[in-house]
Amino acid sequence: MSDKWVKLAQRLIGLTSEGKLAWQDTSDDDVVQVVIGKNAIELESSGFHDFEIRVRDGSGKVVDRFSDADLSEISNLNYASALNSTYNLIRRQISGTEQVLDDLLDELGKK
């Protein structure tokens, strides 16, 4: 199971940086969510460099959860920093900042 946590986190980080996941805001200020297949994943930022990833099934029930500390313990790598960057990127994607910057760069590239 723990190997799957690492794989899942790595895929989330990778696909988010490629802009391939449609993250959404939630009612909680510190939680973002993405639907993948028939399930959903939540990423919660609780304090400085403290992250929790929750897996929800189709009914919305939390079926699994793990933190950056769990990932670091399993892999001997510091996941807090990577998840922090990912979380910030997600926030920028949701707010549209990334899109605005992309549009600006496209326009400037034409000049």
Partner: protein, 204 residues
């Protein structure tokens, strides 16, 4: 006996002897064309006629079965369409109920009635879960994804409501309302899709 046979054959030969009172001549003529029934039965034989009769019967039974099968197929398709139409109508009514509940949640949030918010979130999850898991409901991938997202959002809002209620946690009213508005939009789209599907099934 001979006379009876001749009466059968007379009209086909065009003889008008009977009308002209030449009965005897007519009967003599008829003797010439009287049927040798023994010959009929001896060639090609009873087997031939039996097989021919069986084949004709078989052909009729095949035609009858094909017709019956076609009718059964049409009836089965109609029954299937009726069932699908009923499922779609039921799904549409369930999702419409969810739509109404989202409106109620929004009002409860504005009034900060967190217990009711939590209850309604749970109620929505209970309604939507079987729609996603039953496999009877035909939903597009996009709608299915929207409903899974709704489930996760409702679970998250339920958790937030419980925390606000029990721990007095901070909350962002604008954000909660924004999330609810997005979910209402997704649900409205799902209702439209299911209603369109129902109409399409009824028109088939």
């Amino acid at each position: 006996m001979l006379f009876r046979i001749s009466r059968v054959y007379l009209p086909t030969l065009g003889l008008k002897a009977l009308k002209q009172n030449h009965m005897l001549e007519a009967i003599e003529d008829c003797e010439l064309i009287s049927v040798d029934w023994d010959a009929v039965f001896s060639w090609p034989g009873y087997d031939f006629w039996g097989i021919l009769l069986a084949m004709v019967g078989f052909a009729f039974s095949i035609a009858f079965a094909a017709r019956a099968s076609s009718k059964a197929s049409v009836a089965a398709n109609a029954a299937h369409a009726a069932k699908r139409s009923m499922i779609n109508a039921d799904t549409a009514s369930q999702i419409t109920l969810v739509q109404q509940m989202l409106v109620e949640i929004r009002l409860r949030v504005e009034n900060q009635q967190w217990e009711q918010v939590s209850e309604k979130c749970e109620a929505i999850r209970v309604i939507v879960a079987p729609l996603l898991s039953s496999g009877n409901v035909e939903l597009s991938e996009e709608t299915e994804k929207s409903l899974i997202g709704l489930q996760a959002q409702m679970a998250s809002l339920q958790k937030s409501s419980d925390e606000i209620r029990h721990n007095g946690s901070d909350f962002n009213l604008v954000k909660i309302k924004s999330v609810l508005a997005k979910q209402a939009e997704a649900v409205a789209k799902a209702v439209r899709e299911i209603k369109d599907n129902t109409e399409a099934v009824q028109n088939v």
